[in-house]
């Protein structure tokens, strides 16, 4: 565990050198948020109106949180890196090292995005406050719980993207799987809460990764309840365990197929 924490620390130190890039990257997040704010403003003719149980302010804060989770994640970068590692054979450099490739990739990427995540969170809160005038009513402990669920959601997202990317062992380019996954998360988890879908579909979504990687933390932020918090955290821990096992299975099966010519 110590070695993985060291990898995370190294990545954080490295990213702090490029803090300007992180802040500049926030512009992209802000634009997306701005579009969605305009969209919801247009949809809510009256700000106090409730659509599927959400007020305009709740909907916008929901989007702030889900977009932080998605934009700070850097999923495309992770997907490209793992696909390239597999395609180029670079993955072999990790085989004889005293760590697991899954653990190494997870900690590298986590370290890589932690600075971004904190900056996006702070600036996202500020943007939301400027646009909406006030925060949802949460006390400090509830905010900490939301942050914990956001952190766990990020770990699950990384593991899922890793599992999808490791399919590159079998079909060379696994990027298309990532596209579809990212769009599913965007439509089913980022822009709309689960309540916007038909009841039968809601039941399926409640057991899907969307519940733990985007809906759960955002729902807690706009409508906190301790019961939901416990359910979400338990579901996230189960998902981390399952996603990690799946990554290991794909990796172990895939790594047997490696055929590297020396050079």
């Amino acid at each position: 565990m110590k070695k993985y924490l060291f990898i995370i620390k190294t990545e954080i130190m490295s990213n702090l050198q490029y803090i300007f890039n992180v802040i500049f990257g926030y512009v992209g997040y802000f634009i997306l948020l701005f579009i969605l704010f305009n969209l919801w403003k247009y949809l809510y003719s009256d700000p106090n109106e409730l659509i599927n149980g959400y007020s305009m302010s709740q909907m916008m804060w929901y989007v702030v949180i889900t977009e932080i989770l998605w934009m700070a994640l850097g999923g495309k970068k992770l997907n490209t890196k793992i696909c390239n590692d597999v395609k180029s054979g670079n993955i072999t450099y990790n085989i004889n090292k005293p760590y697991s490739y899954i653990g190494y990739s997870l900690s590298t990427h986590l370290g890589d995005i932690l600075v971004k995540g904190v900056v996006y969170f702070l600036l996202g809160m500020l943007t939301g406050l400027i646009f909406l005038g006030k925060f949802p009513s949460l006390n400090i402990i509830q905010v900490i719980v939301v942050i914990i669920t956001m952190f766990l959601a990020t770990i699950i997202s990384i593991l899922i993207i890793m599992a999808l990317s490791l399919v590159a062992f079998f079909i060379e380019d696994a990027t298309p799987f990532y596209w579809v996954y990212s769009k599913l998360i965007l439509i089913l988890g980022t822009i709309f809460p689960i309540e916007y879908f038909p009841v039968i579909f809601q039941k399926i979504l409640n057991f899907s990764p969307i519940y733990v990687v985007s809906y759960g933390p955002a729902k807690l932020f706009v409508d906190f309840s301790w019961k939901s918090a416990v359910v979400i955290i338990i579901a996230q821990i189960i998902y981390i365990f399952i996603a990690y096992i799946i990554c290991q299975i794909i990796y172990k099966k895939g790594v047997k197929r490696i055929n590297v010519n020396g050079g």
């Binding site: 701005f34 949809l43 596209w179 769009k183 709309f192």
Partner: protein
């Protein structure tokens, strides 16, 4: 002059042909890229079906117009990224000194550079655009207009990208700005202009020309307006001229890195 243009076009198509042949070496990857991109884009339709279940229209846009807008945006993106993929990575080419390989060719440097690579998945965007257009409703005049606007919109997208990436000749990290503008163009283009108001709407029809590339064409296809058509074509030509001026001004500041490389 005409001969030179003909030769240039021939070289562009040869470059694209060889890039496509290279990608076709792995047919599974090629097909999965195209098919999954179609599926990926289809999710936008789901998003708008949900939004239209809340409200019947978005200003001038009904569901049919929004679907047309999504299809056109997808086609524009596909056209730009299939034929001119390198225009979206131009900063890297400039910063790493890889322009050398194009400067020594007896052809137009900008065109040779930006057409030297393709994005296979962009074929999926083009295919999705065609499917959506057919769903919207086929008629010969609208079909011609749809693909004229795919080209003008694609060229505007490419021009914006080249202009901002060309700032790499003057500044470090210009790619960050270029990527942000490109993403902004793509993100905004799938939402109708009726949700934007005031200064933002003005920006979308001027500095960030999503309005010219996407919104005006949808208005023309649904109800033909010759003035708007002329505006679309003129702005496209204007952007092409500005792009060439800025790129070649910047090119004077370019210095070779003496990088030895082979284009295979």
């Amino acid at each position: 002059m005409l001969m030179a243009v003909r030769n240039q076009i021939k070289v562009i198509f040869l470059s694209i042909k060889y890039a496509l042949m290279r990608e076709l070496l792995n047919k599974t990857t090629f097909l999965s890229n195209v098919i999954f991109m179609v599926l990926n884009n289809s999710s936008m339709i789901i998003q708008w079906l949900i939004l239209f279940s809340i409200r019947d229209n978005f200003g001038d846009y009904g569901l049919k117009q929004v679907i047309l807008l999504i299809g056109l945006s997808s086609s524009i993106y596909g056209f730009a990224h299939f034929f001119f993929e390198k225009s979206f990575k131009l900063s890297e080419t400039i910063n790493t000194g890889k322009l050398d390989a194009y400067i020594v060719q007896p052809k137009n440097i900008l065109l040779s550079t930006i057409t030297s690579d393709i994005q296979v998945s962009a074929l999926g965007d083009l295919l999705f655009g065609l499917i959506v257009y057919l769903f919207y409703g086929f008629s010969f005049p609208s079909f011609i207009l749809y693909y004229i606007f795919t080209m003008t919109g694609g060229l505007i997208l490419v021009c914006i990208s080249v202009i901002f990436h060309s700032l790499s000749f003057w500044f470090n990290n210009a790619d960050l700005g270029a990527d942000t503008i490109n993403n902004m163009m793509i993100n905004v283009s799938t939402y109708p202009d009726s949700i934007f108001k005031g200064a933002v709407k003005w920006l979308l029809f001027t500095i960030i020309p999503v309005g010219i590339a996407n919104y005006i064409p949808v208005k023309i296809i649904t109800s033909f307006n010759p003035y708007l058509f002329i505006i679309n074509i003129s702005v496209c030509l204007l952007f092409i001229v500005i792009t060439f001026i800025i790129f070649y001004k910047g090119l004077r500041r370019y210095s070779s890195s003496n990088l030895m490389s082979a284009r295979i």
